[in-house]
Amino acid sequence: MPRLALICLGLGLLALVSLGLGATNLFSGPLDSGMVLAVSRLPRTLAAMLAGAGLALAGVVIQQTVQNRLVEPGLTGTPEAAMLGLLAVTLWAPGAPVGVKMGIAALAALVGTAGFFALSRHVPRRDPMLLPLVGLIYAGILGAAALGLAWATDLLQYVSIWRSGDFSGVLRGRYELLWIIAGLAVLLYVLADRITLLGLGEAQARALGLNWRQTVLLGLGIVALATAVIVVTVGAMPFVGLVVPNIVSRLWGDNLRRNLPLIAAMGAGFVLGADILGRVLRWPYEIPAATVFAVLGAGLFLWLIHAPRGRHGR
């Protein structure tokens, strides 16, 4: 697998850069460099990589599930629903342990995503642009509800943190929930064929013996949990789930058994790269990774639409 090796090599280089980059000089700074690495740099690097992989994987799963390449978790109301869930716990059970908060957010995200899925079944398929637009409106409504609730209860600050993905606050002890994504990635790899089958449509997938309902529910659950974890720990990040699966699909096709690792690695690399850029562009200030990626992602997406088709090979 030279492709995967190449992407992982790039990812490794980015990780090294990310570890070396920060306010403290690792070699001649006043602080113990081992401590800086363990408490701040490594957690931040890992968080960016895990979040990126999670966003990209969630993107490909939702795209296969609704059979539309122009959809991503940011267009399915998933982060907004997760925020509603978080707001609800913050309001009614502020003292709940973080695991419970996480669970409620994930559950709300699942309900929101399932709502989008139910909606998608009624959207005509002739024009693929229609579903993302419907998703945009749906996400807008949920987002407005979250904002309204937050405004009424003086929690707007939280919402603005959840809405813009940023790794500057990541420290040891504050990002570990993101390891859930590693577990989800393994689970997805086991399910790879089934997710590919979802992309063939309900009738064909069921005719090929797929337990369609169960697989859809599992897929939506994975999307919801990954998104909720990311929103809770680092904040939502648009475009990653759209751009990465599309690049991989365009270059190397839709066989997920082969391509899921590529999607995860590329998502990790893109988000880490965006975080590094955000750290150096206005040194010593930082630009949130989500903002950097929004600009980068828009460019990548335009390229994607116009780029010549890649060779689809082994």
Partner: protein, 250 residues
């Protein structure tokens, strides 16, 4: 053998299937014909277990199809649904390989690979095997989907309008191959609109109108000019030219 008993399905006020009872012996090519909206696709989807009827049963080779779970159904029958709109970015070989999925559920063995190659060969897809399905013409794409259903190696193959939008050459090409498939002992059941094709390749036929079976049985004993005219509400004539059945308008 497929035994259908009292199959009824209502959608709103419309009886899509109206007490359909029918026994279909195994073997050969059977065409389901009838005007648009007659319930042909619905019947096929009911047989495949994708639609649960309001009443009635479908038994395929002695198993109640609506009591089986999807993985078990997929070992007894394959289905090509109507109008595949979204085409995944898979190569021809990858897509046809998914026909074996019900058997290996993710762990293909040498036998599965051999059967995929056999399906590719049977439908003349070897030269296209590495091409992306989305790059193919409509006719080639349809052949790939039929090959995938074939690779499933089920006793019954159910095809919903496999010839839709195909030119005569491609339509004939697919039918010739399905004819061979049936000759090798499988049962092929397909919805088809082209009566000339049905007349030429189907040994038996099911004539549907308004959710009911007007007639069913071996083509020779069932299909007459009168039946076709009644079926389609337009004068049609069955003729014999140089030993081949043809349909004439008027």
């Amino acid at each position: 053998m497929i035994e259908i008993e009292g199959l009824t399905l209502t959608r709103g006020t419309l009886r899509v299937l109206d007490d359909v009872t029918l026994t279909l012996p195994a073997g050969g090519v059977t065409a389901i014909i009838g005007p648009n909206g007659a319930g042909k696709s619905t019947l096929l989807n009911c047989l495949a277990g994708l639609i649960t009827p309001d009443a009635g049963t479908v038994r395929i080779d002695d198993a109640d199809i609506h009591r089986l779970r999807e993985p078990e159904r997929a070992l007894r029958l394959s289905l090509l649904p109507q109008g595949q709109t979204v085409v995944p970015r898979l190569s021809v070989r990858e897509l046809v390989s998914f026909g074996r999925w019900p058997h290996h559920r993710g762990r293909p063995g040498p036998e599965d690979r051999a059967l995929v190659e056999a399906a590719l060969a049977r439908f003349a897809l070897i030269p296209l095997a590495e091409r992306l399905v989305e790059e193919l013409s409509g006719g080639q794409r349809q052949r790939v989907l039929v090959a995938m259903a074939f690779a499933q190696a089920t006793p019954w193959m159910l095809l919903d309008e496999p010839l839709a939008a195909l030119d005569p050459r491609h339509a004939r090409d697919i039918m010739e191959r399905l004819h061979e498939v049936a000759a090798s002992g499988r049962s092929v059941l397909l919805v088809v609109h082209d009566l000339a094709i049905a007349a030429r390749y189907a040994q038996s036929c099911i004539c549907m109108k308004n959710g009911r079976i007007l007639a069913a049985g071996p083509w020779e004993q069932t299909v007459t000019s009168d039946l076709l005219s009644t079926l389609y509400d337009t004068p049609l004539r069955l003729a014999d030219v140089e030993g081949q059945r043809i349909i004439l308008a008027g």
